[in-house]
Each structure stands twice: as C-alpha cells, then as structure tokens.
Amino acid sequence: MRYQIQYLHKYRQVCQHLKIPCTNNYSTEVNSETKPEPKSWRKRWDQKEGEWYSRFKLFAPEKGESPDVVRALQSTSNFSIKAVRKWIQKSKREAEILDMRYIPERHQILGSDLAAAHFLVHRGAAVRFVGSSEWIKRHEDQYDLPDRYNRDYAIEAIDVLDMKLYYEGFQNMTNLRSLRWLSLRNCLQIDDWCLDRISSEYESSLEYLDISNCTRVTDRGICALYRMNKLRTLKVHNIADSQLFQLACLMLEDINPQLNTEGVKYLDIGN
C-alpha cells in the first residue's frame, strides 16, 4: 500500500504537468469555508452502508455520558472555610468577567462610541466626548447619554476611575477612532496582555496613557507600546521600580522621540 500512495502522489504531479483534471487533490485546495472534507473519509460506525436499525434508533443517544457529570458525582465536596472563601472569590471574579462580555445588540443600536460610553459609565468610569469639556459620570446609577446612535458623539477621553476593567472589557471598547486620552490608573487587573490589546486597538490615535499603580505591568508590556507612534505622555508611577523597567521606558523614548514618560526615576549616574 505504501507504493500505492507514492504512485498516487506521482499521478497527481503528472496530471498537473499535463494539465489533465486530477481526481486526487490536496486538502488545502478545497474551500475551507465549506464543511471540511475528512468527515467523509471515516463514516460513523452506525452510518455505514449495509447497517440497518429499527425506528427505535431515534431514541439512541448519540454520545455517551458527559465526563463532567461523572466528575461532579465523583468529587468530594470540601466545605472548609478556606475552600468556601475561595469558591466565593472565584464566583465573584467569573461574574465580573461575564459582566464585561461583548453584547452585539448594544453596538448595533448605539454604534461603537456610544456603546463603549454606556458600558464604561454604567460601571463607574468617566467619559469625555470630542468637542465638549465635561466628563460624563454616573450619579447613583443615573447618567446622561443618548440611547440611540448619534453620529456627533465620538469618545475622546476615558478615565477608568474605580471601575474594574478586565481584558475582556476591551472587546466593548473597539473602533474608537478619536480616543486620545486613556487613564487606567489604579486598575489592578491591567497587565501586559491588556497593554498589548491597547497598543493594537488605539495605535493610531492615543496620545496620553496613564497606567500608574497597575502593578501587574512589567517591562515586556512597555515593549508592546512600540507600535503607538502618536503617544506623547506615558505615566508609570509606582510600577517603575526595577532597572529593567526603567531601561524599557528609556528605549521606548529612544524610538519615539516625542514621548515623555513620567514616574520613572532614572539612576543618577552623576554620583
């Protein structure tokens, strides 16, 4: 059979050479949008030709028991205080991340800018639009934003204040073409991956970025900001303690001469 395979391979090459239609095509030449071909290479054992089943096959389960059910039945519940506390924390975190998910209807009705504004302001952040100088915040669950798409509203500045913004929340803040000012100060969930996200989303417009007190950011996150060529101010108070971090900020300023980093204490080489 090995030789048959090699023969088929050669046959395909010869066909291509002579421009004869060949029945033996590469998988990648098949349109990947359609159902992948291999589903026809192996037939399920109960769908083969010659198999016969009665009408009761309707009730036959297609799959076996889910291993999740087995796992739940076999696990011994741990009701110690530490475990309960851990479970509560985990559930809280999962609920918060679920809160950050992308809702398509919101963006369809409101458009990208207003949808992001609603998302942020509802959860405690402040937003400022192009052409106005007042910050829109919420006062006891009330805030003043239009509830239909309005072309005149373009977000210019976002201040996260005391909102817990996770990586998943950035899905709701896409397509903000006029965003120039972003402050993520005191938001402890911001880490290198978020900076990677920010750097790819807002690379063409962001001029001010404040990530002070975001202790999870490391020098590698600063490296990710190399794509932002419009960045003018970068604030990194209270995270720039290591030499590596300071070096990264220095190198960032090298490639972006108009950048000004604040919050880094460079080593004084005079002494």
């Binding site: 059979m1 033996n24 998988s27 076996g64 076999q74 991956w193 690379e203 020098d219 996150g221 990710a224």
Partner: protein, 525 residues
C-alpha cells in the same frame, strides 16, 4: 481420578494462556529491536508468584497511604527523603493505568493536564518521559536536556495559512493569558511564562506576496489582528530595515510575540502532578500485543486484529517493566517514528504499512550581540529566505536562526552546533536585511530538534486508523509549543467526548496520510 485430570488440565491451561503468550510477544520484540538483544527480557512470570507479588504490592501501597495520612494528621510535612526512597506515587511502579502518554514534553504534559482536569477521579494517567533530569547527582526536578520544548525559541503567532493552525494559536494566546486560572497550584508561585507581546513581521518578495495577502485575509476573518505594509510604510515603521527585494510585509498586531517554553512545560507538569498524573522516568522500548480475533474492522481480514496491550519501559535503574494501558498516546516529539515502529506502524501490512513520517531535524539557534541594533520596535522578523531574528532582553542581544535547505540538513546524532552555518547562511542575509547587523558577535548557540513531519510539515493529531486505542499528537515541525494547549484540549475531547468539540482538527488526523491529502502550511519557519 477426576481431581487429577482437572489439575493437569488447569496447569496446561495456565501454561498456554499466560506463560507461552508472553514468550511469543518477547520473541517479536527481540526480532525488531536488535539494539537491546543484550538485555534480558523479563522471564514470564508464574501466576501464583504473580498473585503473591501483587498482594504484597497492595500491602505496601496501603501502608504508604496510611503513613502519609498519619503524617498529615500530625502536621508533619512529607520529607524529601520519602521521594528519594521511591520515585513513584504509591511507592511501586505503576503496572497499569487507563491512559499512557509516551513523551512528557509540552505536548505530553499538556494532554495529561487536560485529561486529568476534566476527569480527575475517573481515569489514571501515566506519562513516560525518558529525559527528565540533567544532573543525576542532585535530585533536580525535571530538567529536560534534549527535549525540543526547552530548546525552542518560544514564538507565538497567528500568521499561518491553515485555519486550524490559526485557531490553535488564538487559543494558545488565550490560554497563556489565563494561565493563572488554568495552571496555578496551591502553595506554589503562580506560573509566569514571560510573554513579550512584540509581534511578528513576515516579509515577502514578489513571489510570495500574493500568498501573504491571502493568509492575512484568512487570519483577520478568524479573529487575528494584523496589518499589511508596503515597503514605504515598512521603512517608516521600522527604520532599521532594508527593504530591497521586499514586496509586502505582514505585521501581527496582537497576541503575537514570544514566551518562555520551559516555564510553560514546568507549569503543565506541576499542575499535572498535583492532579494525580504519574510521571515515569524511563524509555519506552516496545509494545506487547494481544490478539483479538473477535474484533471486526473495515480494511483488514476478519479475525486478524492484533492490538497493543502493554508498553515496555526501561526504567532508570535499567530494569524492564511493563505498563498495561487502556489508551496510548504517542507524543514523543522527534522520536515518535521510533515509538510508532515499535507498534508495527510502517512495518506491518494493510493500514499498518504507512509509517509515521516524523523525524528529528536539527536546527541551530544563535544568540548574537549588536551594539547599535534595532531597538524596541523589533518584532520577530522573518525574511523571505526563512532567516528569522528577534530581540532577546533589552541589552542588545538577539536570537536568530534559519532552516537549512534540504540538501544541507545537518546530522541528528547529537546537538552539537556548527558555527560555520551562521557565518555562511545566516549572517549575510541578516546583514543585508538589517544594515546594523554588519557588526555582530555570536555570544551563544544551541541546537534543538524539530519533530519534522516529512510528509507535509504539519502536525498529526488523531486516532490511528488500525489500532483502536492509539492516538497520535506529534509532527508539528517547529510550531508545536504554541499549539500545545490547543492540541492537549483536542486530544482530551477526542478521548473523553468522542470527537472534537471546540477546534475541529479532523483534517490533521493520520487518515490524510492514507488518503494522500497533504495539508500544506505555507508559513513554516
């Protein structure tokens, strides 16, 4: 009289079934592996002796369990001496398990982790790894000397031309982002893979520009972010580049960069161990087969099925033990073809005549230092000739390499580095692409094996068509580490769910070798 006849028949029955059967299996292995004809295959064991041995082992296991329970109650932490006494979880060699994984690198450990976290109490998983520690004197915890995982450059990119590869990389990025939730173990530091999100830059000449553009479109459709750059824009963004001969560049914007593969492997292994996976330090040297005449399958003579039943392991102390398994997974990296041959894949008839086309290919990685090299704005750049380089740290160090042409493939006997390769093949290309690299110094170099799939340079993930209990997850030809989480999850879904649930990898199964449908990936580095 009846009694004597019965005992005579009983003894004959025992001899036939147990003693002679083992003999035939070992004869086969002796024929195949001439290298260990000097070793003594274990003598077939008398069943009465076996019964007493197993009972003795059970007593030992029970005693160990009681002792550790008592110690925990008394608040004494397990002393490291205990580990020295016996490297096995229950104090004895695991003679049987549900799923055995041959190969404990990133792939094997990932599969073990996903299996055990889905069904922690339902299955026992054993991983056989032949190369766990470097220094035999100090009891170091798993330093893989020649495993490809740790010698890898550790890149993560979505710039592939195959839909499955793109999806697997996207999941790899998501997994690494949430690695704390997945792989953290109580009482230990959280895992840190040190991901540097600096992106990838693929450069294409006139010939490859069309393909690059199509790939970029497909990647965007599946959720990856990238931008196509003309030579003028390339020069603007990356002033250190020399755009002679470049028609188009594709710059990955998000979830692309590089990380530390050793940390990922360590995290997988530690989490797997904490979930109850047993790691055996030994080398798989053969399989034992079992005839199953009542098993019927398409494509073979009825009654001729002979399945794999046990794997023979040569442990560190030199003795040969066997592990009886329910399912075997071959994830042995560059040595997968050797393991597959032990199971008659490639040497049998019918479906067993197709060999596993994975072989080790040596690749060099050089660490160079350049004083005025490109600064922070250096993604992992790949020249149309295949030469790549990336920044390493912030002190002017760079890592570079190149896949040699097929006729220049270095020998794979050892991992020695050929420094002429840098001077002849890599440095001229680098210096012409990045003028600053005219003055570089080679600081360090190492070699590692690609688990190279000679058929179509893409991974083989799936069940074996003949053996009903064998799965294969190997052959990733240089981009395995970023796909390790996704492949682990895929294999787990295949085994525990019966099919792929999240990413559909049916196109990458072994079947394509039989059907002769190569799955060509254009962006191999």
């Amino acid at each position: 009289m009846i009694k004597t006849v019965n005992t005579f028949k009983l003894r004959k029955f025992i001899n036939d079934k147990f003693v002679n059967l083992n003999k035939s299996a070992y004869v086969f292995i002796n024929r195949c592996e001439s290298s260990y004809s000097s070793d003594e295959p274990p003598k077939p064991e008398h069943p009465i002796k076996r019964t007493f041995r197993i009972l003795g082992n059970d007593m030992k296991t029970a005693k160990n369990k009681v002792e550790s329970f008592v110690e925990r109650m008394q608040g004494i932490r397990e002393l490291s001496n205990k580990i020295l006494k016996s490297p096995y979880r229950d104090g004895i060699f695991p003679e049987h398990c549900d799923i055995v994984i041959i190969g404990g690198g990133a792939m094997g450990s990932s599969i073990a982790y996903w299996l055990k976290q889905r069904a922690p109490n339902a299955i026992t998983v054993t991983v056989i790894e032949k190369d766990p520690s470097v220094n035999q004197n100090i009891l170091s915890w798993g330093q893989y000397a020649e495993a490809s995982t740790c010698l890898s450059v550790g890149g993560l990119r979505q710039q592939f031309s195959l839909e499955e590869n793109i999806k697997m990389s996207l999941f790899g990025a998501e997994f690494l982002r949430n690695i704390n939730q997945h792989l953290s173990v109580e009482g230990h530091d959280p895992p840190d893979v040190q991901f540097t999100p600096c992106g990838y830059l693929f450069l294409a000449s006139e010939k490859g520009a069309q393909q690059l553009e199509e790939n970029a479109k497909l990647q965007k459709k599946l959720g990856a972010k990238n931008e196509l750059l003309t030579p003028v824009k390339l020069k603007q963004k990356f002033p250190w580049i020399n755009t002679d001969g470049i028609a188009l560049g594709c710059h990955g914007l998000e979830n692309e960069g590089w990380f530390d593969p050793w940390s990922l492997l360590y995290a997988f292994k530690r989490k797997a161990l904490s979930l109850g996976v047993e790691y055996i330090d030994g080398e798989a040297i053969g399989f034992e087969f079992k005839k199953m005449p009542d098993l019927l399958m398409d494509g073979m003579e009825p009654g001729s099925y002979e399945g794999v039943d046990k794997v023979l392991v040569r442990t560190e102390s030199g003795e040969i033990r066997s592990v009886k398994f329910g399912i075997v997974i071959i994830a042995a990296g560059p040595y997968s073809a050797k393991v597959a041959r032990m199971a008659r894949i490639g040497t049998g008839d019918g479906m067993l005549s197709i060999p596993l086309p994975v072989e080790p290919r040596k690749r060099y990685v050089f660490c160079i230092n350049c004083k005025n090299g490109p600064g922070l704005n250096t993604p992992l750049t790949i020249d149309p000739s295949g030469t790549y380089f990336r920044r390493e740290g912030l002190a002017g160090n760079y890592i570079c390499g190149r896949s040699p042409l097929p006729e220049e493939e270095p020998s794979v006997d050892n991992l020695d580095v050929d420094h002429d390769f840098f001077d002849k093949n890599i440095w001229p290309v680098l210096a012409s692409r990045v003028p600053a690299f005219e003055a570089v110094k080679v600081k360090n170099a190492w070699g590692g094996y690609y688990e190279y799939n000679t058929y179509d340079e893409n991974g083989i993930v799936g069940p074996h068509p003949y053996y009903i209990n064998m799965y294969i997850a190997t052959g990733f030809s240089g981009h395995g580490i970023q796909h390790a989480p996704a492949v682990g999850r895929g294999v787990m879904e295949m085994i525990l769910d019966g099919g792929f649930e999240t990413i559909d990898l049916t196109r990458m199964s072994f079947d394509r070798l039989i059907m002769d449908r190569p799955l060509i990936e254009e962006n191999i580095v």
